[in-house]
Symmetry: C3
Subunit: 326 residues, 3 copies
């Protein structure tokens, strides 16, 4: 997985990683390329295992170097090298910082400049538009007043960006509209709750938005931690929608006002979600699902079903059992 937005330290070796975890050096040092989730990792990447939910990915991963804890030592295939730690996710955070030391802060881009239209083809733009270094914008786009697009963002052709929008760490397809005051690509709300102090972890993922997408006003779409947050082609989002880190939304979905997705939830194609509904973290919703307004989805929803309620269940039964004459 290529990371466009964060600078990676070169020549990280296994002993740098072990040192960052407070572990003993190996006698034979060697290069490690990057850190990635099991299904994204290449042969020279380090990866991690902390739940049997990911057993299928573990069997298939190309990574040879797996961080895990005592509980899963025997689950890891014998051809892998294991790094045993007490807290897997904390170790992942430390290693991510070893590779990407600037990924924890999420300060404003201090290198933006006022847009110079000469650099873009047939671009319509407003007052006080600020662009970071290496921003790419396709042809026939428009960008409203006071909008800020930070370094390395890529926007396709025929896209319309509203006013007061803030975009960072994001790649956008063609014919996509981002409406006013939406904030896209900030770090997710991820950290380890501690009794004494909450510890933030770095977010090196991006936001990948497809083509023919519409993002409404005042949306917040956070970037992924290790993987990306994704919004598929043809999907429409209404106003005040919140999408947390690592969420994947499929193609041609309709997400109405004030809906929220907790981290790492995954939504199929052609899903319709009514206003103010919420989807819990790590939930999988299939294709062609309808979720009624106000629902709270706390378990996986199979394809081709209609649900409603809190917790969400079969919509017909919910409505039948909640029919009041007063």
């Amino acid at each position: 997985m290529k990371r466009f937005f964060f600078k990676k330290v070169k020549n990280i070796k296994i002993n740098d990683i072990l040192k960052s975890l407070g572990l003993k050096n190996l006698k034979k040092n060697f290069n490690v390329n990057d850190i990635n989730e099991l299904n994204e990792a290449n042969i020279n990447d380090i990866s991690f295992y902390n739940s049997n939910k990911y057993f299928e990915s573990l069997k298939k991963t190309k990574s040879k170097l797996i961080i895990t804890n005592k509980k899963y030592l025997k689950t890891i295939p014998k051809n892998k090298m294991i790094i045993e730690v007490d807290n897997v996710l904390l170790a992942v955070a430390n290693i991510t910082l070893t590779f990407y030391p600037n990924s924890l802060d999420d300060l404003f881009d201090a290198n933006v400049k006022h847009l110079n239209s000469k650099n873009f083809k047939n671009l319509k733009f407003g007052y006080n538009v600020l662009l970071g270094k290496n921003v790419k914008i396709g042809k026939n786009c428009s960008i409203g007043h006071n909008t800020i697009i930070e370094h390395d963002v890529i926007i396709g052709d025929n896209c319309n960006i509203g006013s007061n929008v803030l975009i960072k760490n994001t790649i956008i397809g063609n014919n996509t509209n981002i409406l006013d005051s939406s904030i896209i690509g900030k770090k997710g709300f991820g950290f380890y709750p501690g009794k004494k102090k909450n510890i933030r972890y770095p977010h090196i993922g991006s936001v990948i938005i497809g083509s023919d997408v519409e993002i409404g006003c005042n949306n917040t779409i956070d970037r992924g931690s290790l993987s990306n947050t994704k919004i598929g082609d043809g999907t429409f989002l209404d106003n005040q929608v919140h999408i947390a880190h690592n969420v994947k939304i499929g193609k041609n979905c309709i997400i109405t006002g004030q809906v929220g997705f907790a981290g790492s939830s995954s939504i199929g194609n052609s899903v319709m979600i009514g206003g103010q509904a919420g989807v819990s973290g790590h939930i999988k919703v299939g294709d062609n699902v309808l979720i009624g307004g106000g629902s709270g989805v706390i378990k996986n929803i199979p394809s081709n079903t209609k649900v409603m309620g809190y917790p969400a269940r079969n919509i017909r039964k919910f409505l039948k059992e909640n029919k009041y004459n007063d």
Copy 2:
């Protein structure tokens, strides 16, 4: 119904309309003035009928020219001329575009300029305020920093507009406050869900805000599709409220934080709505209604009642049946 914000093509004739729908020309061509809902249409306007919910309006409409589908052919009074189509709303969208070709896009107003205080009487304003052409602002108003008011917007006397506000396609009465970062008058979230692609439809309505109104921070209030979105005199809205297209809210209502209204819902006078409640589309809520916080209103609510719950019902019964000692 007068449309202030969208340019209408002149001299549209019935055969232009039939052509846009892929239908055969009439032998006798004639002028059509505009497209409107049944209750707003004048004698020279075209209108449409796609649900028996609107039967009363059908009986009273001045329009002589009704678009409908096979199902309702016999419902239309005999003194009307009928245009039969497969998909009524898609036809309405096409005809709207024939009259108002610029109504589908919703780009930022590229003709705004920095405010020139000479044009206004006793106006207090901040840095970087942008005003479109023909904006009217009454006396003794204030406008905060970075606020954008697009072309043809009308604001009455003694109004206070906060900072970072965006207003378009809107008419505002006297003594009304719009707080920081609210977005008023963008197109609604209306489209025809298609299996392959969602088709947007044009929004030629406005937002009409009364006098003595307060709109909180970070609100989103969308303009109507054919009719207007309305907020009555003396109504107060808290922060993060979302109001979809065509919603009508009466006088002297109190709408607390994070409440949402789906499209075309209609709220009476002196209605109080608790935080995070939601009202479904096309629902009617009467006068003097209290809706408890967190409620989900999915059926019409008669006047002088108190409801709570999801779905919302009699508040006493809801609370009695949901009293837990744990």
Copy 3:
């Protein structure tokens, strides 16, 4: 309680106050220092009593001068002087305006200027940053583009403020981050609902944010009416959170996306709240409480408990009784 942000009229005497309430003068006039809640009032302050919920505070208050209505005349200790009125809160509003005549409006700060970095130590800042008079910013801070910080705001060391942020009437500790487009310190949504007209009341409280806090994007945090809105050290808030006037949130809490708190609710330490949950007004939540996503909290929650549901109750029982196989 010191009020940093609102100018107090000097030399207010008891007969000025009685006059503002339409009551008769006392023969012996004397100075009144300020108006405060019972637990914050000093010996020369006026205070008020309108609910037996505050009986403990009444017994302990230093105030000698209590506004109340007929119902509570006998509850007030005999060593206090009583001012009897019909509507206690309306009287409080009037007296607050007598002391602080500019506290009802909440106009933008017209005296801000573009930031002059010479006044601050090692401050990183963006374009178009506006600062009011007497703003204090500690060392090693950053402030993003288009952010507005109004008069007298105090920000500690090592704080990062995002872009498009608006801060007023607020004091912030050290190492605290405020993310993009949040609005902090505006007046609360407080008023007296009237049949003919809603009457706003003044807000002279502040927002007090601790150290090591994180406030997400698009949050709205209103200042208190008489007391302050508070967010404790080490507490993290996600995006689109709404915090109403007078809310107190403890230390080390985790509040996820789209959560809302109604006025005067009080949350303990180390509380975790799932997405889209809501807490009603004047509710007390203890320490170490977990509130599941989507919950509606309408009664006090004791410490060391886990709740979920609408209304919120024991989480295990809620999940057990709401387990569906469809």
